[in-house]
């Protein structure tokens, strides 16, 4: 069955550095991949989407790559700030073809001033 893996360990980085989060998946070839941000006590908020035929997508300080050969997406935050501290979730469309997102467990990012 479809499996999505995100690093369960928190990523700690210094302010100003680039944060890179990883989303790996197996047993499926998704049509798209989404990234969400979740703050404590809040619901996830959509950040970026990348389609299977796109290699890279950018939005301000955010960049997402999608390597369908490696079955991996990388999520980069450049010039990171303490306000970027949150949990970041990746989501893939359901393997049943319904396009309903299936979520990874998320990776916590902590940016230290």
């Amino acid at each position: 069955s479809q499996k999505i893996e995100q690093n369960s360990e928190a990523l700690n980085i210094q302010e100003g550095k680039t944060a890179t989060l990883t989303c790996n998946y197996t047993n499926y070839s998704p049509a798209y991949l989404q990234w969400y941000r979740q703050d404590p006590g809040r619901g996830p908020v959509f950040l970026l989407l990348i389609r299977e035929n796109e290699k890279e997508k950018r939005k301000e300080r955010l960049k997402v790559t999608f390597d369908t050969t490696l079955k991996q997406s990388l999520f980069h935050i450049t010039a990171s700030q303490p306000a970027d501290s949150a949990t970041y979730l990746c989501a893939l469309d359901n393997e049943g073809g319904s396009y309903i997102p299936t979520f990874g467990r998320g990776t916590s990012l902590i940016v230290h001033p």
Binding site: A31, Y32, Q34, Y36, G41, R42, G43, P44, V45, F46, L49, R51, L89, D93, S98, Y99, I100, P101, T102, F103, G104, R105, G106
Partner: protein, 114 residues
């Protein structure tokens, strides 16, 4: 205010009780979803609805009931709550199921079953 709201924000109930979690959205989105979020499992889909009076099971539907008589509301009922249903429940909506239709989430209901 436009958006998606869930109520209550916190709920404590006893094993065996029936409890209903409410979800209301003001965008007239056709699709609505219920997810539960637990440590170690991430977000798991319970039920979803493609339109009023159309619902379907997700990954973990057992013990839950949903209805959708109006487009804007999608309540989730635990018919006889169990401790394993202690979780944070998120409602979400989107205008359509396609690659470019991200989900919009509410801020969740934290449910504790004692």
């Amino acid at each position: 205010d436009a958006g998606i709201t869930q109520s209550p924000r916190y709920k404590i109930t006893e094993t065996g009780r029936q409890v209903t979690l409410m979800c209301h959205q003001t965008w007239s989105h056709s699709y609505m979803f219920w997810y539960r979020q637990d440590l170690g499992h991430g977000l798991r889909l319970i039920y979803y609805s493609a339109a009023a009076d159309i619902t379907d099971k997700g990954e973990v539907p057992d013990g839950y009931v949903v209805s959708r008589s109006k487009t804007e509301n999608f309540p989730l009922t635990l018919e006889s709550a169990t401790r394993s249903q202690t979780s944070v429940y998120f409602c979400a909506s989107t205008g359509g199921i396609s690659y470019n239709s991200p989900l919009h989430f509410g801020n969740g209901t934290r449910l504790t079953v004692t």
